[in-house]
Subunit: 111 residues, 2 copies
DNA sequence: CGTGTAAGGAATTCTGACACG
DNA sequence: CGTGTAAGGAATTCTGACACG
């Protein structure tokens, strides 16, 4: 029997980090970080005052993006990959939801 | 039987949150947050420019502090508790370290 | 295409102090 | 003791643009 307690995603997904800190954390310039947003690769939260707030998940994503760009991948292509991945995830979600409804109707049998 | 506890402390302890965000997260005013630092209850990182950066652990600590103050506990008393707790932790650490050295010398037997 | 930079403005944060109690 | 506030300054962030290539 295995009991696994998942990583605390609450911290990872909270958008609380300013662009200056993200710059330090990733080694990217603020210019680069803003540009990747312009290309719709990252979506920081915006405060009422207009400044950007990133999550740790965003920070990790930014590093991945930067690596791909270093490898010669264009932002447009990276965007395409992300859209595709998102669709796969949604399909998976949908599948799980349907299964959940089936279970709700016929009862859940677990090995 | 295996019990795995992940608790990603890497995110929790990184000092990356500005005082404004901490204020939103905790509901405390910036004045309160700065005062608790003055009373040596929290220790944010300082950027070269002089501004404070807090971790999620700090945020949680601040909430606990605020609760105690609401209960009428004075900052000085809270400080005393923290110092005592720290000493207990260090004693525990020391004990573990000693045991580690013993194990290193005589071999580790695990049940 | 991806990034650097100077420009001017706006939002954020800092400290020390006076105030109340 | 714990917190509010006005004050002036410094650090941070924002946008739009010009530049290179």
């Amino acid at each position: 029997m295995v009991i696994l307690l998942a990583a605390d995603s609450s911290y990872k997904d909270k958008k609380v980090i300013t662009i200056g800190i993200v710059s330090e954390l990733t080694g990217l310039t603020e210019r680069q970080i803003r540009y990747y947003e312009e290309r719709k690769l990252v979506f920081p939260y915006r405060t009422p005052g207009g400044s950007r707030r990133y999550s740790f998940a965003d920070v990790e994503l930014l590093v991945e993006i930067a690596n791909k760009i270093e490898d010669g991948v264009q932002t447009y292509e990276i965007r395409q990959e992300m859209v595709k991945q998102k669709k796969r995830n949604e399909a998976e979600e949908h599948k799980k939801m349907i299964q959940g409804q089936i279970n709700a109707h016929f009862g859940i049998r677990k090995k």
